[in-house]
Amino acid sequence: MRRPLVALFSAAALLITTTLSACGSSPDKPSTPGQPDAVDVGVIAIVDVAPIYLGKQQGFFSKRNINLNLTTAQGGAAIVPGVVSGQYQFGFSNTLSLLVATEKGVPVKAVCNGNTSTGKDGEDFGGLFVKAGSPITSPKDLVGKTVATNTLKNIVELSVRASVKKAGGDPAGVKFTELPFPDMLPALQAGRVDGVFVVEPFQAAAVAAGAKKIASSFVDLAGNLTISMYFTSKQLATSNPDLVARFTEAMKESLAYAESHPDDVRTVLGTYTQISAEVRAKLTLPKFPADIDKASVQSVGDQAQSLGLLTKAPDLNLLP
């Protein structure tokens, strides 16, 4: 009877040591006087984050004594915990994810805009597509049909629902299924889904494949929609406001530069993505205003609440 007891004891001991070592490893970067601050930012290797790569290239961060290190993660799901745990000082995430995180008590604080829809119907950097020759001509025809979204219950699903509602259909009648952007067009062509919402460079691929654009859903969700933002942890915002201010300034300069130099944006895309030169030349770029459009964030929050993605009114304390 002794063996199981000993075994149990050793298992418990192992578990405790593992947990302790895990807690002890939370990285904290003390800044050395005279040295530039090492700042890690969690981003996603997509078109939307071009300004920060451009800003780094242009020296907007180094001239503010920031040694910027960009790490590409697999999406907001990895970036938000990374920022909160202090692995990254800043991160990039979409507006609705940040609103949901805030409602759940995750201590994050937005610092500036990330990217914005162009606001022009039919000329945005993302769109709702159906197969060539599909009988569906309006988003309201999607009621009872299946639409692919990159993440369920997030900003893309909310946008598609907004398009359906605007066209006079019942958004509750649309079925959504989760597919990564690269898998959407094949699924649409094979008839596994009836509609897809894709962003660049997959929009360019969808157009090339003859798919029909039936809505610019980001535009339908809100005018000048702030799709994503750069954010930090509340902890860093209070413990090192100077660093946060310098990063924000550099980021705003980067956004303004990207907005006025679209050709540089297309060039820098070639450094951190593998989007081919032909596609880079013709894809639709998002807008990069420096400031967050508060009205659009409010609108995203309200619509998310009406669909139950948020349980209360959006907490705009998230915004700077």
Binding site: V6, A45, T72, P81, G82, P186, A204, A209, Q274
Partner: protein, 255 residues
């Protein structure tokens, strides 16, 4: 025809099928590009520094993870195998931890270390360690009881018994463990890069995928396959060297 010629013929046939199938419309060329386009994408990519950095990172992650797993597996394996009370205490824990798939630890390492090589090395070590450990345990258990008693009677100390009795018996098992661990380690290295986003070929595959660069995705996958072949050839070469003295009694013949 000899074996090598036949293998090359097989590969050439495979490449030819890959070339023809999309061209005659058997599979959509947009998502399954012909072999020649994949080759062109690979050649273009090989001309960039980015590719070689990614290759280096993957090899580094693999080698580092494998080295840690082998050293830890051998040391802990010999220790647990040689001291019965330690094994009695730890066997249930080993049996509990061993079946946990390494990829199930991805959320944990992401929170602990983010998208770093360290995260992926942890996954690699976790997966490869058990392969080595179990082989070492079997090897240590395989010591001939007569030889063991003889060694005791002749008064060999604990260390001498490990050195002259346990280790030579266990070595073929250790080498098998290393060979198994080497391929598992490569799988986990690429998986980690792909899912966690740590630098390496796996991450480059994901970036190419997110960039709608389909031929490049296949090109990078091909490189991962070649790495696997190389890893296997290398471990088999090491195996033949280390076990040269043992080859006569081995039933398995290296190819």
């Amino acid at each position: 025809m000899n074996r090598t010629a036949l293998s090359l013929l097989g590969l050439a046939t495979f490449a030819a099928i890959g070339e023809v199938a999309p061209r005659i419309g058997l599979v959509p060329a947009a998502y399954a590009p012909p072999t020649s386009r994949i080759a062109v994408a690979l050649a273009d990519e090989a001309a960039t520094g980015r590719f070689w950095l990614a290759l280096r990172d993957t090899v580094l992650t693999w080698a580092l993870g494998l080295a840690i797993a082998v050293v830890a597996g051998v040391v802990i394996g010999v220790l647990l195998g040689a001291v019965p009370v330690l094994w009695a205490v730890s066997s249930s824990t080993v049996e509990f931890l061993r079946p946990i798939p390494s990829v199930a630890l991805i959320p944990l390492v992401v929170v602990l270390y983010g998208s770093t090589i360290r995260s992926t090395v942890v996954l690699v070590v976790y997966a490869a360690f058990w392969q080595v450990l179990l082989q070492v345990l079997h090897g240590v258990a395989d010591v001939d009881p007569v030889a063991r008693d003889t060694a005791r009677v002749y008064g060999l100390g604990r260390w001498a018994r490990v050195r002259y009795l346990v280790w030579p018996t266990a070595l073929p098992y250790v080498v098998t463990g290393v060979r198994l661990a080497a391929s598992v380690a490569l799988i986990l290295a690429v998986t980690g890069e792909l899912v966690v986003g740590s630098p390496g070929l796996g991450k480059e595959i994901e970036v190419a995928r997110q960039s709608a660069a389909v031929p490049l995705v296949y090109a990078l996958v091909t490189v991962c396959g070649l790495l696997g072949v190389l890893a296997n050839v290398a471990t088999r070469a090491v195996e033949r060297r280390v076990l040269a003295w043992h080859a006569a009694v081995r039933t398995e013949v290296g190819t």
